[in-house]
Structure formats: structure tokens, C-alpha cells
């Protein structure tokens, strides 16, 4: 008689389905490809784990910049930081697509393991795998769609992408915890297999790596200008558009094509001030070379000229350490206003820009006045600014 230390309900075997149902892919030996192999799975899983971690960290950084909690002040320098992290985020997500498909291919026979559910613990593990697999496919699928601004999925992408990221990464940690012995064993098993014609394990891993590299190179031109000629996948040509610069939200869509009798309203501790364009142009101007960086991954440098925001708010008695809200002429839209944190508000390159590459702003770039600041997500570079409020 075997003494059990305690009865564990989650380990109690569930009744197996009748053996007569074990047909088709459920038969033992139904899958014969040598690519369905732990040595392949463990390596693809390791690469995918690294790429998902990069995506999570760069994604959280982007979230933090767009929704800063009270304890966090977004840094204004280095200028290129967000451009780099968001470029990496999008490229890592694209690189993950071939890795995920190859990984799922290598483990596909496990979908038909017999019995389908051994006990409650096994059922919970398979449930978490549904979250991991479905969540990863959803995350990468909608992520790639969002890069191409194809919003056919019917939900507000940033919010669902953020929460799904926690879900997927949590399911990934569970998976690693459950499978750790198999992962270690798989990584210790040699990749080589040269018994039959067709792709070897090593060859499959190499081909998958090459596929990820090809996808990255094909899309990287939207961030790295020298790669633009080979970048047939880049959803944006960052230097095509009015004044040689791409645009996401046009003046037509924002309803700001016609601006009459423009005044900039500046609200601060000592009162409210109305400034005409001529008055803004008469103030000391500053020129800075700053990138526009979209969350979709594209970015482009341009030379902006305008009045430093800190000079404007000092007219209404605000010191450099103040938080400022900038409001657009657009009536609707989630990004109608943006908040400029302390580090940005005091930075001399945070401009209320009047000119782009020496010319007055095109309507699509925010004429008559737009915010442009270093190291800041594009959706927070508010266009068609008509009101500045010191908070």
C-alpha cells in the first residue's frame, strides 16, 4: 500500500475518453517530422522569450511616457531615446512573427496529446496555453495591423495591447515555470539531424532566424533612413508628405483646415494673455533638429523653428519647473491635448513651432502653431495649438 502524504485534488486522474476516439492526429506517431522536436522547440522558445521581453520593456516605456503616473517625469533627453525604443519595439514585434509561427509548428503534435486532459492541474496548464497562444497571435496580429494603421479589429488598440501584454507575458512565465525541465533538456540536445532529405533541425532554425532578419530589414527603413530603399514593408515613407515629412492626422481629418483670427491663449499664475502670430514671430526664435516619432514605429528628423515653450509661459509668470497643458484647435480626438512634464517644459528645445525647415508649417503639420519636443511620442506632439495652460 503506497501512502500518499495528502490527497491532491488537482492531481487526481480524470477519467480518460474511450480509446476508440483516439483517431487521426490523436494516434500515436501521427506526426513524423523531425522538426516537432524538443531541441527545436526549446531554442525557438528561448529566442521568442527574449524578443517578447524586449517588446514588453519597450512597450511599458512607451506606456509610461504616454500615461505618466505622478511619480514619473518623462526625461527630455537624449532626444533620440523614444525613437530608438519605439523603433526596437515595432521591429522586435515583427521579428517575433516568424519565431512564433515556427515555435507553434514545432509543438503542434502536443495539441493532440492523449488523454487530452489528465487531471485538473493539466487542464489549468492547457488553459493557460490557450491564453499564451491566442494572446500571442492576437498581440502580434493586431500589432502588425496597427503598424499599417488598419483598425479592423474593433477595439481601442493601445488599451487592449497594454493589458494583453500583461496577460501574454504572465502566461509565458507560467509556461516557462511548468516546462523548465523540458526547456533545459531541449537546449542540451544537439540540433543536428542529418538522417533524411529535407530541412534538418539546424536548417529549420537557421531558416527561421533568416526569416526574422528579412522581416526586420524589410521594415527597418521607417526608422533607419539608410535602409529605406530595401524597406518594401515599411508602412510609411517617413520623408514623404507635405514639406518632406510624413503625417498621420491631417488637418482635414482634424477639422482644422481653416483657421481665422488666430490667437494663442496663454493661461498662467498671473493671468491670461492672447498672442497673435505676429507677436509670436517677434519673440526670440530658436531652431532645433528633432524627430517626429510615431508609436507605429516610423520616425523622421526635421528642423523646427519657433518660440521655446518656457519663454511663452514665463510671460504669464510661470517658472521653468511647471507642468503645462497644451490644447489643440481640434474639437474631437483622444490626443486633442497633451501634458508637458517638468523636464520637457524647462528644456530649451521644447518649442511652440512656427516653421518647419524654414517654411511656415503646412496645415497638416499643425499650422499655425504646434508643439515639438525632444524624446516624446508623436501623438503628444500636439498640432494646431491654440491654448497653453500652466498647471
Amino acid at each position: 500500500m503506497v501512502r500518499r502524504p495528502r490527497s491532491d485534488l488537482t492531481r487526481r486522474p480524470l477519467p480518460a475518453p474511450p480509446e476508440s476516439l483516439r483517431r487521426g492526429p490523436f494516434r500515436p506517431g501521427a506526426f513524423r517530422s523531425r522538426l516537432h522536436d524538443r531541441a527545436v522547440t526549446a531554442r525557438l522558445g528561448l529566442w521568442l522569450g527574449v524578443v517578447f521581453t524586449v517588446c514588453l520593456l519597450t512597450g511599458l516605456w512607451s506606456h509610461l511616457l504616454q500615461h505618466p503616473p505622478s511619480w514619473f517625469t518623462a526625461p527630455a533627453s537624449p532626444t533620440w531615446l523614444y525613437r530608438g525604443t519605439q523603433g526596437v519595439h515595432v521591429l522586435a514585434g515583427l521579428a517575433a512573427v516568424p519565431l512564433l509561427l515556427a515555435k507553434l509548428f514545432s509543438v503542434y503534435p502536443h495539441l493532440f496529446s492523449w488523454p487530452p486532459v489528465r487531471d485538473l492541474r493539466h487542464a489549468a496548464e492547457r488553459g493557460s496555453l490557450l491564453l499564451l497562444v491566442g494572446g500571442s497571435l492576437l498581440q502580434l496580429g493586431t500589432g502588425v495591423m496597427n503598424v499599417f494603421q488598419w483598425y479592423a479589429f474593433g477595439f481601442f488598440f493601445p488599451s487592449v495591447h497594454y493589458w494583453s501584454a500583461w496577460l501574454v507575458y504572465g502566461a509565458l512565465l507560467i509556461h516557462v515555470g511548468v516546462k523548465l525541465p523540458q526547456i533545459v533538456e531541449g537546449l542540451r540536445t544537439a540540433r543536428a539531424s542529418r538522417d533524411a532529405p529535407g530541412l534538418s533541425r539546424r536548417g529549420f532554425l537557421t531558416a527561421t532566424g533568416a526569416a526574422s532578419t528579412a522581416v526586420v530589414v524589410a521594415a527597418a527603413g521607417q526608422t533607419v533612413r539608410s535602409l529605406e530603399p530595401v524597406s518594401f514593408l515599411a508602412p510609411r515613407r517617413p520623408y514623404r508628405g507635405p514639406q518632406g515629412l510624413a503625417v498621420n492626422r491631417t488637418a482635414r481629418r482634424a477639422g482644422t483646415e481653416v483657421v481665422v483670427d488666430y490667437r494663442l491663449e496663454v493661461v498662467g499664475p498671473t493671468g491670461t494673455l492672447l498672442l497673435t502670430l505676429e507677436q509670436l514671430q517677434a519673440m526670440p526664435q530658436r531652431t532645433a533638429r528633432l524627430p517626429i516619432t510615431c508609436v507605429e514605429g516610423w520616425s523622421a528628423d526635421a528642423t523646427w523653428t519657433g518660440v521655446p515653450l518656457r519663454d511663452v509661459v514665463s510671460l504669464v509668470g510661470a517658472g521653468p519647473e511647471r507642468v503645462v497643458r497644451v490644447e489643440s484647435l481640434e474639437r474631437h480626438g483622444r490626443y486633442r491635448t497633451s501634458v508637458v512634464g517638468r523636464a520637457h517644459a524647462r528644456h530649451p528645445d521644447t518649442l511652440l513651432a512656427l516653421r518647419l525647415d524654414g517654411q511656415p508649417l503646412a496645415p497638416d503639420h499643425g499650422w499655425p502653431l504646434r508643439l515639438i519636443a525632444p524624446n516624446r511620442p508623436g501623438v503628444l506632439q500636439t498640432k494646431w495649438v491654440h491654448r497653453v495652460v500652466v498647471l
Binding site: 509561427l101 507553434l104 509548428f105 490557450l130 504572465g170 523548465l180 529535407g198 529549420f204 514593408l233 508602412p235
Partner: protein
């Protein structure tokens, strides 16, 4: 299960709970749609995409039994990946 593995499962479960809570209760939450799309993606992949890949692999084995098969398969892996990532452009067009 070692303590390390237990900790991973515990931490992972916490993050799953966090994610689910946001997907259900957060601003702009569309829990039903997200659930349908999440399960739907898994079903679509496991029921259609993966079997199609396996069938393609079997077919290729018949057509190209010997040398040249490995190179063809590798080329298909790369070309297929590029095709998948290009689907938004092909189906929807550029932004």
C-alpha cells in the same frame, strides 16, 4: 516543482490576473470582442494555418523527394514569413 518554478508560475498567474482585470474592467474595455478574437486566433491557427503548413510540407516531400528539398523549404519559410507580415499591405494598403 522547485521553488524557482513555483515562483514563476505564481508571478505569471498574478500577471495574467492583472491583464484579465484590465481587459475586463479597464477604460475602453471590449472583453467579449477580445475573448472572441483571442480564442479565434488560436482556433484559426491550429485548425487552418498549421494543418495547411503540414499538408504543404507533405506535398513538397512528394514533389521534391531528394536534394534541393531543404533549400526549397528554407526559402519557403523566409518567403512565407515575409508574406504573412505583408498581409496588411496586401489586404488593406498602406497607411
Amino acid at each position: 516543482m522547485t521553488a524557482w518554478r513555483r515562483a514563476l508560475v505564481l508571478l505569471g498567474s498574478g500577471l495574467v490576473a492583472l491583464g484579465l482585470s484590465g481587459l475586463v474592467l479597464g477604460a475602453d474595455a471590449r472583453p467579449v470582442r477580445v475573448a472572441v478574437l483571442l480564442v479565434g486566433s488560436a482556433v484559426l491557427h491550429d485548425g487552418l494555418v498549421a494543418p495547411a503548413l503540414l499538408a504543404g510540407g507533405l506535398l513538397l516531400g512528394r514533389v521534391l523527394p531528394g536534394r534541393g528539398r531543404a533549400a526549397t523549404q528554407a526559402a519557403l519559410v523566409v518567403a512565407g514569413s515575409l508574406l504573412v507580415v505583408s498581409l496588411p499591405v496586401l489586404l488593406h494598403g498602406r497607411a
